[in-house]
Symmetry: C3
Subunit: 357 residues, 3 copies
Amino acid sequence: MTAFARNQWYVAAYAREVGRELLGRTVLDEPILLYRTEDGQAVALSDRCVHRRFPLSQAPSRLDGDRVMCGYHGFTYGTDGRCVFVPGQQRVPRTARLAAYPVVEQDAFVWVWIGDRDPGATVPPRAPWLNSSAYTVVSGMEPIDCDYGLLVDNLMDLSHETYLHGGYIGTPEVAETPITTEVDDGAGIVHVSRHMDDAACPPFYAESTGIEGRITRWQDIEYHAPCLYLLHSRVAPAGAAAPAADGSDPEAFHVEVVYAITPSTQKTTYDFWAVARDFALDDQKVTDYLHANNHTVVMQDVDALNVLQKSLDTEKPGYQELSINIDTGGLAARRILARLAQEGETRAAAPAAGAAR
Amino acid sequence: MTAFARNQWYVAAYAREVGRELLGRTVLDEPILLYRTEDGQAVALSDRCVHRRFPLSQAPSRLDGDRVMCGYHGFTYGTDGRCVFVPGQQRVPRTARLAAYPVVEQDAFVWVWIGDRDPGATVPPRAPWLNSSAYTVVSGMEPIDCDYGLLVDNLMDLSHETYLHGGYIGTPEVAETPITTEVDDGAGIVHVSRHMDDAACPPFYAESTGIEGRITRWQDIEYHAPCLYLLHSRVAPAGAAAPAADGSDPEAFHVEVVYAITPSTQKTTYDFWAVARDFALDDQKVTDYLHANNHTVVMQDVDALNVLQKSLDTEKPGYQELSINIDTGGLAARRILARLAQEGETRAAAPAAGAAR
Amino acid sequence: MTAFARNQWYVAAYAREVGRELLGRTVLDEPILLYRTEDGQAVALSDRCVHRRFPLSQAPSRLDGDRVMCGYHGFTYGTDGRCVFVPGQQRVPRTARLAAYPVVEQDAFVWVWIGDRDPGATVPPRAPWLNSSAYTVVSGMEPIDCDYGLLVDNLMDLSHETYLHGGYIGTPEVAETPITTEVDDGAGIVHVSRHMDDAACPPFYAESTGIEGRITRWQDIEYHAPCLYLLHSRVAPAGAAAPAADGSDPEAFHVEVVYAITPSTQKTTYDFWAVARDFALDDQKVTDYLHANNHTVVMQDVDALNVLQKSLDTEKPGYQELSINIDTGGLAARRILARLAQEGETRAAAPAAGAAR
């Protein structure tokens, strides 16, 4: 199984999911309670009452103003996790305090920091298209019953589009065209590029852009380990001009595909998926088509990864995989994840002086 | 997990559940077959045929007079567990014998003795209201997917009524009013009392007694570890006279709430619940109301404990609880259960001379 | 649990189940892909792509002529298991090869050889009635959630017919009549015979043969460990002539009951069952009756064994069984299975020189 990289930012929810209803999520095996204060601040606390470990996200637990009250015995906590009320006595024990997780709300996501060090100056990576008026977005989240590493593998190697998503976003050229891979080990970023100059146009793009005939199709992956995966997708009629030196690219259609890959437990993963486009911004028909079509594609992955995890669960220890060129990006991602996991644990074992929590 | 206290009496079923149909129950991880002889005696035998371990409570196993015949190969046993027939041969092996459990039928319950010592003079504790013409009873049994210790915790601390059962039997005064706790370690009995002199009347009592306005409400818990929990509940209009010295208490309504808490497996529990009242004895409407309402309350506990067990199952080893004053009774119960569990095992390891089984 | 005997032939499917649709079966914990080439040859390969272990029997994996193409990334394999195509590059790694299992198609079954040695001259045992024009056959397959040893136990001791299948194929005489057992340890064959000269005719035979009144009923079991179980059943009106010296037996009805007992995982088993008769060959009503009735009988076993396995799963280690005369055949089968399991593993640890795989 893929080790968890602690002391990292993870997407716990879409901003739209966090409100005045209590929401429970499990991130890196930690149960997390999410809600929003009356003035709109997102809050992330441990989702277990200190008293008897009842989940605070579970009814009849409820919000009382900005405070959360346990539905079992009424223990009540402030947004900093400090307990402010216990039943049957005036004195609240000083140790009655929930872990409070650092939160950043950014680009339509609520990010939480999982670890025992302070994030310090570390900030989550960006996906600005999800909150930009220059783009229209469809999105969703699907839980998968698999090791999050299987989803990373899946997304880093798009040759699977030809087979698993044939007839949707895959065409023969995806599997045929070699990739180039660049790894920034220090920043923990993997780039995988596949530029197809003369390719069939899959229905996903034909229907949404209106292009007829063959296309130029660029797929530029930018994976910010551990959680954020970006696919910069550029589609233009075959023979269209390349982007200008200033970055302008009027003949092409751009789709920014964003995945947040959040490990929940060792064998369950949250698959946050979003597709932002810079064309047909107000065309609801295109929006509906892309939402339905992309959901279908995501569910093809979900079904395959659920099956794959079940298969791996029955493998004998020490089973073998065989990797080829297409796996270069995925293997680089695995190396970075292994390093991040080790760093997160190592520093945790010997916390820096002045660590905040 | 809460250790099992062996060499103790446990409720295996209501008397009304044990008849001429074979009934299987699992008590302290032991599969038990229950039935009633033609002359009405309750019998408790091991629920596994000695031949190939087929459950005797499973069809097509069946009764043949007072004998039980295995539905797989026809091995047949008498009420003492001794095998009296095997197929294909005349000789019945002498070792072909089911464990037979001592049984006491008392107060609407069938109690069985689980352990390897003889119960000797030890008798089950009493709940006489369940079989008394001076009381009317509603009752039921709900299986819970939790450690039985969670149900003991739940019942020993009634401050949870205010939160988990708010609007049913809980009012603010329950959580606000301090408790007094008395522990009789020798007898294995814990008393927890909460006397509210001026409290809101919850619907449970308003609807059944007809009291309007505020009440005096006494909750006197008497837990006979490990299995029997009694809640002596006294409700009267606020300002009513206290019970007289001779025990008479004409101005008050009395409800005897009885729980038998029977560990089935390490994470499953039988929750036998009964509510006996000394008023409106023949009022079917009150009976129906109390049955429905108490069932709802029990299911609120069942749902909460199912959730809680699932939460605890994902806790890392060595997780912490935080206990406060309201937990005094529950902690005393845990100590007694731990002692009883240890005694049951210790003596089992060195059985007294003359032990019967 | 019953150990697996490797380096043996097992029935993986009925021949009729193997065609141009991909079929996945798990035999002795090994995932196996079955299909038939365009010219009709049955093929058995490992059901896991060498790349990332995706199941080849899982859509959208599919056949391309005689080749199978993985539905995840398009890895493609020939009937010998050798990979002939990978995406994104010309060179196919030499180690990219699926295990290919020796296959024998015989008597309506597809047999596969599970083990690491070559079968050499070892051939599967025969059940020729299943493909003979002198017999009419009804058959099916039921998965059971149990150790395959429980099904072997079940079939070796037919005294259970009297109890578990009472009213279908069981009558009192089955359990009452002693058996004779012969064991050919070298060949791994156990014979158990029960000849009833004057027995009630169970509905199974009354309805299908038309016999009225009592019968002579012979049950001659011939178990070829580990996988093939034959029950030669002879039924004739009581007092009919015995078979002649030349084997002819015109006064009797013959039913050849065939079971293939294939271990799937440690606690799941494929129960292939077939009933071949030498009478009423073209009587569809008899065929329908025997199919429905035998399916009912098989499901009685399936239900009982599912229950039994669940019971055994909760037994404490070192639990005891008690065996009697009726178990002589079953115990002999267990001994042979234990020996075969040990031999399969022993030789595997030190493979003979020249082993082919």
